[in-house]
C-alpha cells in the first residue's frame, strides 16, 4: 500500500496504532524512498523541539511579570503618549523602583510617613520638599514624576516602604490624596515603572495639567518652595 506523508507524520508523532506502525516499518524497510521521508519527518520533529526549547530557559521580561502582577494596574506608559511625559521621567521612575525593590521588601503602609489627616510627615515630607528625581542617590523614599495639577499646585509621585502614592502641595505641606500598596517584588527582586499602582497612575492622569516637569522645572519649583502657580 501507499505510505502517505500523513501516515509518516502520525508515526513520528506516536499517533499510529501498533498495526499501522508495523505497516510503516515494513514499508520503510522495503523502500528507501519511504525510509528517507520518514527520517526527514523525524528530524523535523526533533529539530522543532530543539529550536524552541532554549526559550524555556530565558529570563522572563519584566513587562510580562508586571502584566501578571498588575492585573488592574494602569501603566505609566499607557498615558505617556497622550501627556508626553519626558523620557527622563520613565528612567527616573524605573531607577527609583529598581532601587526600592532591592532596598526594601513589601510591607504595610507606613504610619510614620503619612499623618492621620493624610498629610505627608517625617521623611516623606522632607523627601517631597527636597529630593529631585534625577538626583536621589540611595534614598529610601523615591520621587517619581513631578507635575502641576489642574488647580496649579505641584504634585509628586513617590514610593517608599511598600507603598506608592501621590502628594500634592497644600499650603506649607503635602497632602497625600492617594496611597496604595505596591504588589510584592518579582522573584528577581526587580520592579519596573510600568507597575505603578493603578490608583496612583489614575490619580496622576486625572490631575495632571499639561506635561510633567523636566529636571530643570523640578529644580526651579523646589527653589521657589513649591509655591504658587508655576512659571512655565
Amino acid at each position: 500500500m501507499t505510505i502517505t506523508d500523513a501516515m509518516l507524520i502520525a508515526y513520528v508523532d506516536g499517533e499510529l496504532s501498533a498495526e499501522e506502525k508495523r505497516e510503516v516499518d515494513r514499508a520503510a524497510a522495503l523502500d528507501v524512498a519511504v525510509a528517507t521521508r520518514l527520517a526527514a519527518h523525524q528530524r523535523l520533529r526533533a529539530g522543532m523541539a530543539d529550536a524552541y526549547a532554549p526559550i524555556l530557559d530565558e529570563a522572563i521580561p519584566a513587562a510580562l511579570l508586571a502584566a501578571v502582577k498588575g492585573a488592574s494596574d494602569t501603566k505609566v506608559v499607557a498615558f505617556a503618549p497622550r501627556r508626553a511625559l519626558p523620557a527622563w521621567t520613565a528612567f527616573a521612575a524605573m531607577a527609583a523602583c529598581l532601587v526600592l525593590g532591592l532596598a526594601i521588601g513589601f510591607g504595610a503602609p507606613d504610619a510614620s510617613l503619612v499623618a492621620s489627616d493624610m498629610t505627608a510627615k517625617g521623611k516623606l515630607a522632607s523627601a517631597l520638599d527636597r529630593q529631585l528625581a534625577a538626583d536621589q542617590g540611595g534614598a529610601a523614599i523615591r520621587i517619581g514624576v513631578t507635575f502641576t495639577d489642574t488647580a496649579g499646585a505641584y504634585c509628586r509621585t513617590f514610593q517608599a516602604n511598600g507603598v506608592a502614592g501621590l502628594a500634592c502641595r497644600d499650603g506649607e505641606g503635602w497632602r497625600v490624596p492617594v496611597l496604595s500598596a505596591i504588589a510584592p517584588q518579582a522573584s528577581d527582586g526587580f520592579r519596573t515603572a510600568s507597575s505603578l499602582p493603578a490608583a496612583v497612575a489614575a490619580a496622576v492622569d486625572e490631575r495632571i495639567a499639561g506635561e510633567a516637569l523636566d529636571a530643570a522645572g523640578e529644580a526651579k519649583a523646589r527653589a521657589n518652595g513649591w509655591s504658587g502657580t508655576p512659571v512655565r
Binding site: D5, I9, E15, H41, L44, A51, Y52, A63, L64, V68
Partner: protein, 166 residues
C-alpha cells in the same frame, strides 16, 4: 499580593513564550502576544472554569489574538485554503537529507499560513497529542491532521529550498 491564579500564570510564562515565538518568529512580537494573552486572561478570569486546563485556556486566547493580528497585518495568509489532503509525496522532500537549523526552521515557520503554524506549534513545539491539539485549537481532528501534514511538508520543502542539508 499574587493570588493562586496569577502564580499559575507566572509558572506558565516560559511555555507561553516558547509557543508565541514559534508562532510569530520574532522575540518582541512573541512577548507582545504573550502579554496580550496574559492581560486578557486576567481581565476575563471569571470565565475560566477551575479544574480545566488554564494553560490551554490561555493558549486559546493567544491563538485568537494571533489570528486577529495576522488578519490585521495581512502579510501572511491565515489559511492555505482547502483542507483536503494531498497524498502525493514530494520527491524533493524525499531526496533531502536534512540537518535542521533552528534559525532556518524559525524562518520557515514564519512563512506558513497561520492555521498551519498553529497546528505545527501545538504538536511539535508544545508537544500535545492530536486529540489535545484539536481541543485547544477547537478544530476537528481531521482538520488538525491535514494542517499538520501540509505545514510539515511545506517546512521540509522550504528547508530543502534553503539548502539546509547535511
Amino acid at each position: 499580593m499574587l493570588d493562586a491564579f496569577q502564580r499559575e500564570i507566572i509558572e506558565l510564562l516560559p511555555r507561553l513564550r516558547r509557543l508565541a515565538r514559534s508562532l510569530t518568529g520574532e522575540a518582541a512580537d512573541a512577548d507582545d502576544l504573550v502579554q496580550t494573552g496574559v492581560e486578557r486572561a486576567l481581565s476575563r478570569r471569571d470565565q475560566w472554569q477551575p479544574g480545566t486546563r488554564l494553560d490551554w485556556w490561555i493558549m486559546r486566547i493567544m491563538r485568537n489574538a494571533f489570528i486577529d493580528e495576522v488578519r490585521r497585518d495581512g502579510r501572511t495568509a491565515l489559511s492555505a485554503g482547502g483542507e483536503d489532503l494531498d497524498h502525493i509525496a514530494d520527491p524533493s522532500v524525499a531526496s533531502v537529507d536534512l540537518k535542521i537549523d533552528a534559525m532556518a526552521l524559525n524562518q520557515a515557520m514564519a512563512r506558513l499560513p497561520a492555521d498551519q503554524r498553529l497546528a505545527v506549534a501545538m504538536v511539535l513545539v508544545e508537544g500535545l497529542s492530536y486529540a489535545e491539539a484539536a481541543e485547544v485549537l477547537e478544530i476537528p481532528a481531521g482538520t488538525l491532521t491535514s494542517r499538520l501534514v501540509r505545514g510539515r511538508q511545506a517546512l521540509l520543502a522550504e528547508l530543502g529550498a534553503q539548502g539546509v542539508t547535511a
